[in-house]
Each structure stands twice: as C-alpha cells, then as structure tokens.
C-alpha cells in the first residue's frame, strides 16, 4: 500500500544547506550595514558628549570674546538665519515654479531631458565652483560686494535642486484624474494647478523646503568668499552687510584660532549638527505622516 513518503515535508539536505547559506549572507550584509553606521554614531556621540559641555544659554546668546578663544556664537547663528532666510526667499519660488513646469507643462522630449540634466549638474558641481561662480557673478559682476545678498544668491542656486526634486515628486503624486476633472469644468491650466494640484501637494513641497533649510545651513565653501567673514564685531543690519555664519565659524574655530578652549569648536559643531539634523528629522517625520494619511 502506498503511503505518503514520511520525509516529504522535511527539509532536504539541499534545503538546509541553502538555508544556512542564506543566513550567512544575511549576516554578512547586516554586518556591513552595521560597520557603516556604527562609527558614525560613535563619532556623533563623541560630538554630543564633548560639545554638550560647552552648550549654555550664554554660549548661544553672546558674541565671541578674547579673539574668539572664548565666548558664544550668537553672531554666527544669527548670520546663518539671515543667509538661509534670504536664500530660501529666492530659491523656493523659482524652485517650485520650475517643478511645476517639469511636472505640469513639459513634455517627454530632449528639452525636458536637458533641464533634468542641468538640475543634476547644479547639484553635482563642486561647492567650491559655486563659490567661484558667486564671486565672479554676484560679488564682482552685479556689484553686490561680499554681502549676505551675494552669499544667499550663491546658496540659492546651489541648493535649488533640492526644492525642485521634492516638489516635482509631490506634484506627480497627484492623480491625473484630478486634473482632468478640473479641466472638464472649464478651468484653465493655471486654475487647475492653483486650486487642485498645489493644495493636494503642498505638504510634500514643504518637506522639500525644510530639507533645503538643512542643506543651506550646512554649506561652507560657497559663502566663504561671497558674504561670510571669519569675524565681524557687527551684527548684520541689511542684506548688503557681511556676516558671520555657523558653518564657517566652525571652520575658523577649528583651524584658525590658536589656543582656543577645546570645547568651543565642539560646541559649535554640536549646534550646527543639531540644527541640520532637527530640520531633517522634521522633514522625514512630515513625510511619514503624509504617507499615513494619503487618501488616494
């Protein structure tokens, strides 16, 4: 009488072998991931521990003293806020309009591909070349001098791809049927964009804007010769003034100031990193919340 082979549902030697190999590879790649992430986390931990000692209200709210060897970083923090604000005022509108063009108007042709290539290049050109461009164009040619305006324009050109890419993605996530319904009601293209497409993607666009704040705040090379200075006793009053900036301040404190108290550059680094990572986390949290409540 034919009975079911009792070993039929047991793993064969081959199965077991495959299972072992499989586990081994999983472990290998898991370890590689860990090896990549752990040192960075250790380094960040060191920054937090050493920099934490320097952080106080006084550190955040006073100016450097004693030839920058002691004191706080307030002028640099304020300068970074100026630079980022002006840069965003310039790059966000242009970036959003550019993304609207790419998502709502442009066809799939060589011209659009050229624009996309230009965006990739804008993001890929070395930051120091952006600095040369800012110096040649904004400081010298347009005669803005070394000023917040020139530095912010340079930053705006450099970080615009961040807004464009994020905005384009969230515009394209709006279903085509929404647009078609609106067109059929007799709305113009712009009315459709203004009343239907933008309201349905505004949170996604905001994610990109926050990401750009973080990118802009961390850049150093592009502002070195266009508007940020090593030290100035004055706080900026208008966009035509020079200013200190957090990122450059870290470079200066780490390399140009002899006998600086050790915790000062650590403190600056910690403030800068906290600023950048907070912005990024907000942007990521925003995106996840968005994904959770998506209606279509």
């Amino acid at each position: 009488m034919a009975t079911a082979n009792p070993t039929m549902f047991q793993a064969s030697d081959l199965n077991q072998h495959n299972e072992r190999v499989q586990r081994r590879y999983r472990l290998l790649f898991g370890l590689m991931t860990l090896l990549l992430i752990t040192p960075v986390l250790l380094i960040l931990g060191t920054l937090v521990v050493k920099g934490g000692a320097a952080i106080s209200w006084e550190f955040l709210l006073t100016a450097p003293t004693d030839g920058m060897r002691t004191g706080g970083l307030f002028p640099a923090l304020l300068g970074t806020i100026w630079l980022v604000t002006v840069a965003l005022l310039l790059s966000v509108p242009i970036g959003i309009f550019a993304a609207i063009y790419l998502s709502e108007y442009a066809g799939d042709n060589w011209f659009t591909r050229t624009i996309n290539l230009a965006i990739i290049n804008l993001a890929g050109v070395p930051s120091i070349v952006h600095a040369l461009f800012g110096l040649g164009a904004f400081v010298l040619f347009f005669k803005f001098g070394t000023s917040i305006l020139a530095a912010s324009l340079t930053l705006a050109v450099m970080t615009m791809p961040v807004v464009i890419v994020a905005t384009r993605e969230s515009l394209q996530a709006v279903p085509q049927a929404f647009r078609e319904a609106c067109w059929n009601m007799g709305a113009t293209r712009w009315q459709t964009i203004r009343r239907v497409v933008l309201p349905n993607s505004i949170t996604g666009i905001l994610t990109g804007v926050i990401l750009e704040v973080s990118r802009t705040a961390g850049e150093t090379a592009p502002i070195m010769f266009t508007g940020a200075v090593f030290f100035t006793p004055f706080l900026p009053q208008s966009v035509f003034d020079q200013t200190m900036a957090l990122s450059l301040h870290l470079f200066v404190a780490a390399t140009q100031v002899p006998e600086i108290a050790e915790q000062v550059p650590f403190g600056i680094a910690l403030v800068l990193i906290a600023l950048v990572l907070t912005m990024n986390s907000v942007s990521i949290a925003f995106r996840m919340w968005l994904r959770g409540k998506k209606k279509w």
């Binding site: 999983r26 991931t33 890929g124 070395p126 712009w190 973080s214 150093t220 990572l277």
Partner: protein
C-alpha cells in the same frame, strides 16, 4: 436691396457672435502669464549651469589664453603661486592628492554601501528597514565642515595612536572621512536602483527554486547593474568635488603621495585656501579660476555619464 440689408445684418450678428465667443476673461490672461513665468523658472536650471560656466570661465580665461602652458599646468607637480619672481602653477600634485583621497574613499565606501543597500533593500523588512533608511538619510545630511572637523580632532589623534605616525592628517584620514561621507548617499542611490527591479523578476526566480541569495546574485544585481554603477559614479563626483572635509583632513601639503600616511592637498581645497589671499584679476586668482573650470568640466562629464548609464536601464 432687401437682400443686401439682410446680408449686412447677418454680418453684424456674425461679428458680434465671434466677439462673444472670443471674449477672453482675465483668467485667460492670467493663465498665459503664469505659463510664461513657469517656463522661465523651468529653464532656470539650464541658465544657472550656463551662468556658472560663463562666469567661472570669464574670470579664468585670461590665464588660459595668455600664459598657460598645458604641459606645465597638468604635468608638473610644482605649485608655488605666491613666489613673487617665478611663480609655478603645476597641478599634477594637486590632482594626485584629489585622486588618492577619492580613490581610497571609494575603496572604503563602495563595498560597504553596496552591502548596506543590499541588506536594506533585500534582507531587512518592516521596522528594521524603516529605521535603517531614516538613519542613512540623516547621515547623508551631516555638513561637510563637520566631517572636516571630525577628521581634524577625532580621526587625527586616533590615527597617530594606532599607526604610530607623526601626523594623522593624511590620505588615510581624508579617505576614511570622505568614504563615510559618500557612503550614505551611495547607499540610498543603490537602494533605489535595487528597488527599481520589478518584483516579478524576484518572484519568477523564487518560483524556480532559487534561494534569496541566488535571486539577488543572479537576478537582482544584474538587472540593477546600471543604476548601481550610476550611483557609484555620483559618489565619485561627490568625493572629487568635496571641499571643506578634504581641506581640513588631508594635511594640505603639496605632495605626490607615496603611502596612505602622506599628507596631500586637493584641487578643491587649494581654491578654498588660496582664493582669499589672491588679488582679484591677478595671475594667481586667474589660475585658481582655471582650476575651477577644470573641476566644472570633470564633474560635468561624471554627472553626464552617470545620467546616461542610469538612463540605459530604462531603455533596456
């Protein structure tokens, strides 16, 4: 007579109707205006790239045409721009510095970021994957000046202690820093490339009895090959153009390195360090802009090839 008036009246009605039909309300003009504005912003990226090339060239071209000797510029390692009598502008050593640091960084970053991307995309699932993805994204956001600072104050003493060398600011230091910096970006590009491989490929392979690793090795990796290569190229471009981190971690000594413990100096860092002291319009200033032109062209080529390679998968 009667027919003529009739015809005239008809013509008048026609005209009025046509006018009625063609009445353009403000919305029509708003639409046209906005279409124009949107188009101008749309092509702004092209204008900016051309602008960058134009203005950097404009400042540097004087040297290229008048004094530059291409052989001396690219093939001699002597860089002494501030020598008043006989300044020398050879960027060979600077190129060697950039190449050695970028090369070492890729040696560190490529295997690990490919491994991490494979783990995140193919092995990890649920919470683990979410956490890893967020972590990688946050690591990619750390500003380069902070990386430079880490190289200067954390890696430097560590390397001196571990390898018993006099100075820890060297190819090794900058290579590790740059590798750690480029790895998160390469990981997320590589992960995107792996995700872009359709699930039905994996399902088909698994249905044939392939194990997960066989699926990855024989199916997913070959299918994602171009995307991965594009990611690596973008990483190379990023390392090549990195400024602040290499300025602070290489030791900034003009030198063709013999070993990974030698200090070097990179092209980008040279501009960053010397532009402030160069006289606007002077020879030194123009030479620095000439290096800028060179950097622009090289990154342009790298980005273009990355784009073409990635586009290759979409067609094939």
């Amino acid at each position: 007579m009667g027919t003529t008036t009739q015809a005239l009246r008809n013509r008048a009605t026609d005209a009025r109707m046509a006018e009625d039909f063609d009445r353009r309300d403000p919305d029509w003009y708003v639409d046209k205006l906005l279409a124009g504005i949107v188009f101008v912003c749309g092509i702004s990226a092209i204008l900016f790239v051309l602008g960058i090339f134009f203005f950097v060239t404009k400042e540097g071209i004087g040297f290229v045409f008048e004094k530059m000797d291409f052989r001396e510029f690219f093939l001699t390692p002597y860089w002494s721009p501030s020598d008043a009598e006989d300044p020398e502008y050879g960027i060979l050593a600077l190129m060697a510095g950039t190449a050695s640091v970028t090369g070492l960084a890729m040696l560190v970053a490529v295997p690990f970021s490919l491994g991490a991307a494979i783990f995140i995309a193919e092995f990890a699932s649920g919470k683990t994957r979410e956490v890893l993805k967020v972590l990688v994204e946050l690591l990619a956001a750390i500003p380069s000046v902070v990386w430079g600072f880490i190289g200067l104050v954390i890696m430097n003493p560590l390397l001196i202690k571990w390898f018993d060398i006099p100075v820890g600011l060297c190819v090794l230091n900058a290579g590790i820093i740059l590798g750690l910096m480029a790895a998160p970006i390469m990981t997320s590009i590589a992960e995107d490339a792996l995700k872009a491989v359709p699930d039905r490929y994996r399902e088909a392979a698994e249905a044939m009895g392939a194990t997960r690793w066989q699926v990855i090795y024989k199916v997913v990796l070959p299918a994602a090959k171009n995307g991965l290569l594009g990611g690596v190229l973008l990483g190379v471009g990023r390392g090549f153009g990195e400024t602040m981190a290499v300025l602070m971690a290489t030791g900034h000594a003009v030198n063709i390195p013999d070993s990974i413990f030698d200090s070097v100096r990179a092209l980008t860092a040279t501009i960053a360090a010397e532009l402030g002291e160069a006289v606007v319009g002077g020879e030194h200033y123009q030479v620095l802009f000439t290096i800028g032109i060179f950097l622009f062209l090289v990154t342009f080529i790298i980005n273009l090839s990355a784009d073409l390679i990635v586009r290759g998968i979409r067609k094939g």
